[in-house]
Assembly symmetry: D2
Homo-oligomer: 204 residues x 4
Amino acid sequence: MQKKVLDKGYVKLLKADKEEDILKVASICYGKKLVDLEKKKEFLIKKLMFEHAGNPTSSFEFVNFLFEVKCPIFVARQWMRHRIGSFQEISRRYVSDNLEFFVPEDLDEEEKTKYLEHIRLVENYYYNLINKGIRKEIARSILPLSLYTTFYWQVNLRSLINFLKVRLDKHAQREIREYAKAIYKLIKPYAPTVCKFLKEAIKE
Amino acid sequence: MQKKVLDKGYVKLLKADKEEDILKVASICYGKKLVDLEKKKEFLIKKLMFEHAGNPTSSFEFVNFLFEVKCPIFVARQWMRHRIGSFQEISRRYVSDNLEFFVPEDLDEEEKTKYLEHIRLVENYYYNLINKGIRKEIARSILPLSLYTTFYWQVNLRSLINFLKVRLDKHAQREIREYAKAIYKLIKPYAPTVCKFLKEAIKE
Amino acid sequence: MQKKVLDKGYVKLLKADKEEDILKVASICYGKKLVDLEKKKEFLIKKLMFEHAGNPTSSFEFVNFLFEVKCPIFVARQWMRHRIGSFQEISRRYVSDNLEFFVPEDLDEEEKTKYLEHIRLVENYYYNLINKGIRKEIARSILPLSLYTTFYWQVNLRSLINFLKVRLDKHAQREIREYAKAIYKLIKPYAPTVCKFLKEAIKE
Amino acid sequence: MQKKVLDKGYVKLLKADKEEDILKVASICYGKKLVDLEKKKEFLIKKLMFEHAGNPTSSFEFVNFLFEVKCPIFVARQWMRHRIGSFQEISRRYVSDNLEFFVPEDLDEEEKTKYLEHIRLVENYYYNLINKGIRKEIARSILPLSLYTTFYWQVNLRSLINFLKVRLDKHAQREIREYAKAIYKLIKPYAPTVCKFLKEAIKE
C-alpha cells in the first residue's frame, strides 16, 4: 500500500502487525484468556493508551511497522530526530543518479519557475563536479535540502503513536505533517482502535 | 520451536525474520541490486559485522525475533538489563497460581531435598498470606529469586548479537549462559552466517 | 540530600542539574537570548511540557540527575523496566554480606513476627550454602524478593518525568510509589516549575 | 575548550566528567573500596572495555560529556544517526540570519570560486524568498547541504566510544572524521586511559 505525499514523495507500508497483538501480549501479563480480552478490545486499548500505572504501553512495542519513505532531506532531518526506531537511508556516498527535488507549493507559478532554475543550475554544477572526479560525498554538499531521499523506517506502535502526536499536531511543519497524515491513513486498517483514540487526543 | 533450559524453563521462538533481510536493507543503502549482494552474502555480512564505518550494523536492526522465555527471576533480572528490545512479563500483581521454582543442579541430592523444603515452607506461607487477604504484590515479597517467571522478548538482530556476545561469554553466569546457548541454536537456521561469525568472535 | 523510604530503604540525590538548563538549551534552538527566555520561564516550561510540535521535550534531556537507591528487589524490578537511563547495581555474584529485608507494613505485629521468622530461616540457609562452597550467585536464589538491593540511577529530566507520571499514579504499586514521592521531593528544589506542572497532570 | 574543524566549524567541550567516575560506579557493583580499584585503574578500564560478561561497559554510561558543535548539515546528518545521546539544534524555522557555508578543501582555487558563486546565488535567492514572505522553513529548502548548523550534543562515554570507533575509522567520511579527531583530543585529558585503549582498537 502506498500514499503519494508532496510533489514527488510517497510512503509505502511494507510490513504491518495488527493492534490485536497488543491484547495477545497483554494477556500474558495479566494472566487472562485472549478471547476474554478481545471482547472488550476498545475499552482495554483506551485504558492502556491513557492510564499510566505499570507502564502498560510497553505492550504496544510488540506491534511493528515497516515503511519505505521518499521525502525531501529537510523533512528527513526532522523525521530522524525520532530515535526509537530504525532507519536505513540511501547513501549519496554510493549513489549519484536519479536526483529529484521538492518544489514548494507555497510558490506561485512565476516563483516556481525561478526556484527550479536555481535547482537546475546547482544540479548541473553537481554533475560537473562529479565529472571532474570530486568525491560524490563532497559534491553533494552543493545540493539543496529540497533533494529527495529514500529510507526504510522500522518502528513499533508505541514510538509511532508518539511520532504521530508530534507530527500531526497543528504546530508541526506542514510538509512533515503531510507525511504523518499519510502514515495515519496507512496504519488505520491495522490499528483502527488506536487511530480512533489518537485522533481524539490530537489538537488540530 | 522450543528448547528446554534448566530444570523447568524453556525458550520458544515465536517469530523470526531471516538474515537475508539484512541484504535487502543494505541494497537500498548502497543502491545495489539485491541479487548481486546475495551472491556474496557471507563476505558482506562479515564486513557489516566487523567493520565500523557508517554504522553498518544498523541494517541488522531490521531482522526481528520474538521469544517466549520461562526462567528463574534471578536470570530474568540479568536479562532485562539489556535495554534495546521489548519485554512483557507475567505480573505477580495479577497472577498468584502455578508457582514453580528452580532447584540448582550444583546441589547434591541431600542438599536438593533441603533446598526444596525451604521452598515449600515459603510457598505455603505465601498462600497463607494470600488467604489472609494480603495484597498479592506484597505477599510475593516472601518468594525466592528462584521463582520461575515468563515473559515475551522482542529483539532485533543487532541487539541480540550483543546479548549473545555478553551472555555466551565464559564469564557470564552459568544459568543465563544456558539460555543464551538455547537462543543461539534457535536462531541459527534463520541467521546461519551471522551465527558462524559470532561463534568465531566469542571467547569460550 | 537523602529521604528514608519504607522500613530500611532510601533515595539519595547525588548530582542534580537545574531546570534553568532547559532554557539554555532552548535558547540555542530558537535563537533567543537567555535573559528573555528566563523572564517567561513558567510559560515556556509549560509549553515545552505539554505542546507536541517539534519534539520540544528533548531539551529536558539536558537536565540530569544521579540517585543512589536502596530498595527491595521487587521494587527494583519494576524500576529497571524504565529503559531510558543508566543503572549500576550491587552484584550478589561478588557480595554476600549485609543482607537486609523489607517487612511489609500491611502485616500486623503477629504476622510480622512470622514473616521475619521465615526470612531468618532462609537467610540462615543461604549462609549455610555459602559455607558449603556453593556459588554465591546460586545460593542467592533462595533469598526472597524482599531482599534490599542498592543501585546508582542516572536519568535525565525527560525520562524522570515519565517515571514519575507512571509511578506516582494512584494505580502504581504502593511501595514504588513511596520511592517516586521521595524522588519528587528531592528534585523539587532543582525543578520547581516542572514539579508544579507535573503535580497538576497526575491523577492521584 | 575548543577545537577548530574544517573551514568554519568547531567543537567546544562544555561539560566533562572524568574517567575516574567509572571506578566509583564499578566499586558499588563489585563491593570493593574505591582506593583499591584506583590502584589498578588501567587494568580495570581495559578489562571493562574489552571483556563482555555482565555488561560491564554500563559503568561508562555514568561519565557524561556536553559538546557544542558547528558543522555542515551533511556532517550533522551522519552525526545524528547516533541515537544514544541528546541533540538540540538551532532551528531554521526560527532563525534566518548568519548563514555560513562549508567550502570543500578538495577543490582548487578556481573551483572554489565557482563553488562560492553558486552558494552566493542561492543565498541571495533565499533572502529574496524570505523578503517575499515565504515561510523560513520552506525558503531554507533551497539552501545547500554545506550550510553550517550548530547543535548541543550530550553523550555518555559508552556511546561516545562507539561514535569514535565508527567515525575515526579510516572508512568514515573525511569531514566527520575531522570532527571525531577533535573530540578525541578534547576528551583525552578527562579520559586518558580510555583514549589510549581506544586508539589501539581503531584501524587507521
